[in-house]
């Protein structure tokens, strides 16, 4: 298992600019997502998970600090170079018209092909392998528009995988799925991490995150707590993050009890 620091952030301030005024959303001294590990990003709605992820993959510039990919500063890479290092699965619903599953997974080869996008047999093999790992190779020539939500999501992960990145970032990939789909996709991304990829996934599925992730980034109150799932559950920080207002000790305690019970039962 590789433990190279695929993705690293130092002194990072993620946010946006509104009429030249910086609006910081998330500040963090140091974050690391090593290869071979599944990192789950959790936090209440509006805590800045998406802003943080967008900054980490370079689709929006940091207000301060730096993001390193395999030790190289993100800003030093050109677009294609960055796309060969980081692949994403977004929350955007896509409507690609008459594209087949094969067309979409093969689009993952985009940063590796020439100006016309001509595909070599090697490109096709890599894309097909990616589809097999997600179990969508059997849908290879089907139209994307005809697939179920769960199948679509696996096709989009396969597309990201075909990009052959060192870091795979997924923004709430389980949001539209039923419980079976959620478990299945979580197991798949955990498996991809075992294969050496650095996988960073934001999710609202606290239970799945606590049981399957190697690291948890808890985004709350404008900062990020990086810890192991066990430390997070025992430390009482979860209730504090998700129940920031004073809901009373009883409320917080019952929340904590639910999380602990969940964690135990999923581990059995």
């Amino acid at each position: 298992m590789s433990t190279a620091l695929a993705l690293e952030a130092r002194g990072l301030i993620a946010g946006y600019r509104r009429s030249r005024r910086a609006v910081p959303i998330v500040e963090v001294d140091s974050l690391r997502a090593p290869g071979g590990q599944l990192t789950a990003v959790i936090g209440p709605n509006g805590s800045g998970k998406s802003t943080l992820l967008r900054t980490l993959v370079g689709s929006q510039p940091p207000l301060a600090g730096e993001v390193l990919l395999d030790g190289v500063e993100l800003g030093q890479l050109d677009r294609m170079g960055r796309a060969r290092q980081v692949a994403v699965v977004l929350t955007d619903r896509i409507d690609p018209g008459l594209l087949s599953v094969a067309d979409i997974v093969l689009l993952g080869r985009h940063p590796h092909t020439g100006w016309r996008g001509d595909l070599t047999s090697e490109d096709v093999r890599i894309a097909h392998d990616a589809a097999s790992r997600l179990g969508v190779d059997v849908l290879w020539s089907r139209l994307f528009a005809e697939l179920s939500d769960g199948q679509r999501q696996r096709v989009l992960v396969a597309r990201a995988l075909a990009q052959q990145p060192t870091v795979l970032v997924l923004d709430e990939p389980t949001a539209f799925l039923d419980i079976a789909g959620r478990v299945e996709l979580t197991l798949i991304v955990a498996e991809l991490a075992r294969g050496g990829l650095a996988v960073v996934v934001s999710t609202h599925d606290l239970d799945l995150a606590l049981t399957h992730a190697d690291r948890i980034w808890l985004v709350a109150s404008g900062t990020v707590v990086d810890s192991s799932p066990d430390d997070l559950v025992s430390g009482g920080v979860l209730a504090k993050a998700f129940l920031p207002h004073d809901h009373g000790a009883e409320h917080a305690a019952s929340f904590e009890a639910v999380v602990t019970a969940l964690h135990r039962s999923m581990r059995l």
Binding site: S59, R79, I94, G97, H110, T113, W115, R116, G117
Partner: protein
């Protein structure tokens, strides 16, 4: 002028065997008209296919950016105000003549294009560009109707005739300018396939795959505007072909992959304008039908039929 198929064949491929009359008709009139129609249709079909992907909108075509509006306004200014005080600043051109109209249409189309591109460069979302284009179009249409209201009947007639669209006015000299420009533009357009395919997944995915979305969008719009502007300048506003050709091409090739879709849309655009040109002169000796009316009358039922037949899949772009 009636010629048998054999006479036409000889005139085209065995000029030494052909009669002078056939040579004159085929080589000096019909050939230009056919080349102009085919190239115009191909260019418009290509523009439509590219714009429908860029804007992720099945109703986008070369004219939504206000390109026709710009051309019409340019022509309206030159034709409708000719002989009045307003035309003096345009200079010593024979302003109401053919050259004047072509130049005015081109300048108008390009002016609107530059405004739209300036907007495109500043905004992130494509929907805003589309709406700004529509707004410019409405604004110019309003200005044109002001000019029309004040125009003399003769001038008005000339303006309306231009608005019908026609391939038969294209002279040999004009074709020598028009054809190379369109051929180069079409060739350059075909280089955009890789970016357009990535854009089918949306701008954010395209960006994550290394596409310079804003730069490429600007370049593609620049080329489509050039193509549509040149076509409109030489043959008038040919509505509908740019909108319909991609919709007819998609079910035919059964893919949205632009490496296949773009050539198909160009081919179908060319077929549409050629058929429309033939149908427009069916009434024969008496004159011709307005080209714009023919493209719409023939095309609208076909597009509706094609779209309703496959409405189950709800796949449009």
């Amino acid at each position: 002028m009636r010629l048998s198929p054999a006479e036409v064949f000889d005139a085209l491929l065995r000029p030494d065997q052909a009669s002078d009359r056939a040579l004159d008709v085929v080589r000096k009139v019909r050939l230009q008209r056919t080349v102009a129609a085919g190239l115009s249709g191909a260019a418009l079909g290509l523009c439509g296919a590219q714009m429908q992907t860029i804007f992720r909108n099945p109703l986008a075509d070369p004219f939504v950016l206000g390109i026709t509006g710009g051309a019409s306004f340019g022509v309206a200014v030159v034709v409708l105000t000719a002989g009045t005080g307003a035309s003096h600043w345009i200079g010593g051109l024979d302003v109401a003549g053919k050259v004047g109209i072509t130049l005015a249409a081109f300048v108008g189309a390009m002016a609107v294009t530059l405004v739209a591109l300036a907007v495109a460069h500043r905004v992130r979302g494509t929907a805003s560009i589309l709406v700004v284009g529509l707004m410019i179009g409405y604004l110019l249409a309003a200005l044109v109707s002001l000019l029309v209201a004040a125009a003399e009947p003769d001038r008005l007639r000339q303006f309306v005739t231009w608005g019908f669209g026609s391939f038969r006015g294209v002279t040999n000299a004009e074709l020598k300018v028009m054809a190379p420009v369109l051929i180069v533009g079409i060739a350059v357009s075909l280089l955009s396939t890789k970016t357009l395919n990535a854009l089918l997944l949306g701008e954010r995915y395209a960006e994550s795959m290394g596409v310079a979305v804003r730069r490429d969008r600007l370049l593609i719009l620049l080329v489509t505007s050039m193509l549509a502007g040149v076509v409109t300048a030489f043959v008038g506003p040919i509505a509908f072909v740019g909108l319909a050709a991609p919709h007819l091409a998609r079910p035919l090739v059964a893919t949205s992959d632009h490496r296949i879709l773009l050539p198909a849309a160009a081919l179908i655009g060319a077929v549409m304008t050629l058929v429309a040109e033939v149908v427009a002169q069916l009434p024969g000796q008496r004159g011709v039908l307005p080209l714009n009316a023919v493209t719409a009358l023939l095309g609208v039922p076909v597009v509706i039929w094609v779209l309703t037949r496959r409405s189950r899949s709800e796949v449009i772009t």
